[in-house]
Symmetry: C2
Subunit: 114 residues, 2 copies
Amino acid sequence: MENKSEICLPTCSVDYAFKRIGGKYKGRILWYLHDHKTLRYGALKRILYDVTTKMLTQTLRELETDNLIIRKVYHEVPPKVEYSLTETGGELIPFIDHLRQWGDRQIEKENRKL
Amino acid sequence: MENKSEICLPTCSVDYAFKRIGGKYKGRILWYLHDHKTLRYGALKRILYDVTTKMLTQTLRELETDNLIIRKVYHEVPPKVEYSLTETGGELIPFIDHLRQWGDRQIEKENRKL
DNA sequence: CGGAATCCAGTTAGATACTG
DNA sequence: CAGTATCTAACTGGATTCCG
């Protein structure tokens, strides 16, 4: 499975950016990693809770390839892998945070209508 | 075809927001509508250029349902339909702009490496 | 524990043709 | 002009099983 971001030239930088963080779980993963500083594979899976191992692994690999997260392997038994944000990935946090606040406001609005 | 945003409760507001603007063309459409104030269907199709009528219509309907854009129909011959941002949609522009700038920086970085 | 591999159903999106 | 309808290829994502 190839990383989409490698096989197509973006037509504009908005497109470029959305390709990198627009995946089904990417926004949440970046946000949770910022929240917890570092998370293990299993912990991430528990927080996202509806994700399959296949999807999680695939998504993490894409984020790693795009240099948004770091994958650190501890060669122990049992194995341990920790994920954290890169500096580039961290630069996206203000954006995600604003988006989160916007989302909160919309959810509130919708609730008031009911 | 149901609008996804209607059939699932978001697990968190990050997820909520990404569902609304994370589609393949949504970011670009919002950005272009902000840039041009208002755009006709055909103009949008030309700017996005690789989109099919089916995808464009579907995406525009989702954005409309989520109250991010306005669809204004002129009952003329030939027909004329203009799209523009709602106030809520406009609130997203600063974030998309931020994302766009981030994208620009990444593209530059990648070019320097080559 | 942190995945990889395989198989398969379901969805999505593209091409094409047609319409008010 | 601004779509709709239909068909199909392609891809996505889920379940399951297995491995170092």
